[in-house]
């Protein structure tokens, strides 16, 4: 239990009387890549915001590397790298200044060396001195990765990292996620199911704030039909949920 890098326990988040996340529990072990799947509004971003310490939970809780996100927030945050849905940037900074800023702010003593290493890792070395405002969307996404990796955290939380980039870059991002998953615990969200199928060790399917299924992609598929795709699993679950709800 305690070796889980991400541990979510009956987590609930309400905005006013709307429940965005409804008593969800799941965990992720070191070196595991977990996909958080669900349609628009399912509660993926909200879950991630609680895990990164941006939003406090309404009920229940979560731990990152054993640190509670509420009572031990600074230590929990130290262990997370976060790539939000829309890559947050300072347009007037260069690539290097930007990565250096986050590396320093998150307490890296060797910030310069680390920034250069991370910039090389995401293939932006040739653009180190380019102003961020002049980067393409795909490059910005890679910069977002660099920022999340700046302090070399054991846990990565990536909110729809493949949204809005071209197919070739999508493949690159998937490779990156898989690569990172060898040494880090990765939680990433998407609503493209084939993507999760390719990359994840395990998936958690959210619908209207609740977990409707979780497990290995292969197991989930087998349960439905030997040759089922994850899409079919997803639609069948959400379909019955919706039917049951009415």
């Amino acid at each position: 239990m305690t070796d889980a890098m991400i541990e979510v326990t009956r987590l609930t988040k309400r905005f006013g009387d709307r429940i965005a996340v409804d008593h969800i529990s799941f965990s992720a072990k070191p070196g595991e890549v977990v996909g958080l799947l669900g349609p628009n509004g399912a509660g993926k971003t909200t879950t991630m915001r609680v895990l990164t310490g941006f939003l406090p939970p309404s009920e229940g809780g979560a731990k990152i590397a054993g640190h509670d996100v509420v009572t031990d927030s600074l230590n929990a945050r130290r262990n997370v790298g976060y790539l939000p849905e829309r890559v947050p940037v300072y347009p007037d900074m260069t690539v290097r200044e930007y990565v250096l800023f986050w590396a320093r702010l998150r307490g890296r003593r060797d910030a310069r060396a680390r920034a250069d290493a991370v910039i090389a890792q995401v293939n932006l070395s040739e653009r180190r001195d380019t102003l961020i405002r002049n980067l393409s969307k795909g490059m910005r996404q890679r910069l977002g990765f660099a920022q999340a990796l700046a302090h070399d955290p054991p846990v990565l939380i990536l909110d729809e990292p493949t949204i809005g980039i071209d197919p070739r870059q999508v493949i690159e991002v998937r490779d990156t996620v898989r690569e990172l998953g060898r040494t880090k615990t990765v939680l990433f969200s998407t609503h493209i199911l084939s993507e999760a199928d390719h990359v994840c060790d395990r998936v958690v399917i959210l619908h209207q704030g609740r977990i409707v299924a979780q497990g290995k992609p292969s197991d989930l598929k087998r349960k439905l039909r030997p040759d089922a795709t994850l899409e079919e699993v997803f639609l069948s679950i959400i379909g019955t949920e919706r039917g049951a709800g009415k």
Partner: protein
């Protein structure tokens, strides 16, 4: 340490933002024109006032401080970097302090530029340099305090224009607190207003060459309280997403 990192980014931001230069130019232009006018008068009638430029600035900051701080949090929110700042392993107060120091450093730079006027003055008349120094220390603290008031409103609202407007209203009220106090027949209320008055802690003390501990404490207190409030606002906004 965290504040230092944020400070460096903030000051770099000021030095690369055209708008900051516009404000800076406006401050220098305004003080320059008024200084020049006063100089012409003082040649013929009275000795030049060594606290002239700080006194002009004391009123000008009612408008300039909110303009300098209005983008401070709005821009971080718009670009989404606020989310990264608030998920970094740092405290809100360190971020707020770093941002304040950046703005204050920019203001200090502007003050240093107006120091040119004092050099001119030294060459023409023989002003009381102690008096001038006291006025400059006063306006430096006073400027810091007005910036923190601007920061509170920048943290409070997403809208830069609204933030600037509310900041100006608040500073105007603090500026006028002396007069506002007189509207109340109750003497205690009047005294409270009086002690809160920005002008009251500057024009009758620093600007007349008097450095009083209570006035230094007043501005330091405003700075500390406003920074604390700003950090609290950021913290409370987490709860509303």
């Amino acid at each position: 340490m965290t504040s230092w990192i944020v400070f460096r980014r903030e000051i770099a931001q000021f030095l690369t933002t055209p708008f900051a230069y516009v404000i800076g130019a406006a401050v220098l232009l305004l003080t320059g024109i008024l200084f020049n006018r006063d100089l012409n008068i003082s040649f013929s009638t009275k000795p030049a006032d060594p606290a002239l430029v700080p006194s002009i600035l004391s009123f000008a900051m009612v408008f300039f401080a909110p303009l300098l701080t209005m983008r401070m949090f709005a821009e971080e929110r718009r670009e989404g970097t606020m989310e990264l700042l608030l998920t970094a392993p740092v405290r809100e107060l360190s971020i707020v302090l770093g941002k304040f120091l950046g703005a204050w450093a920019y203001f200090t730079l502007l003050l240093l530029f107006t120091g040119i006027y004092q050099i001119i003055l030294v060459n023409i008349t023989a002003p009381d340099l102690g008096h001038a120094l006291s006025a400059y220390i006063g306006i430096w603290l006073y400027g810091g305090a007005t910036l923190t008031v601007g920061m509170v409103f920048s943290a409070l609202t997403e809208n830069q224009i609204v933030a600037a407007f509310l900041g100006m209203v608040a500073l105007m009220l603090l500026w006028l607190a002396d007069q506002a106090g007189q509207l109340f027949s109750n003497i205690d209320v009047a005294i409270i207003f009086r002690t809160m008055s920005l002008q009251g802690h500057f024009s009758t003390s620093f600007a007349s060459g008097l450095m009083r501990a209570e006035d230094v404490a007043f501005f330091a207190g405003i700075i500390a309280v406003m920074l604390f409030i700003t950090a609290q606002i950021l913290e409370s906004q987490r709860w509303h997403g």
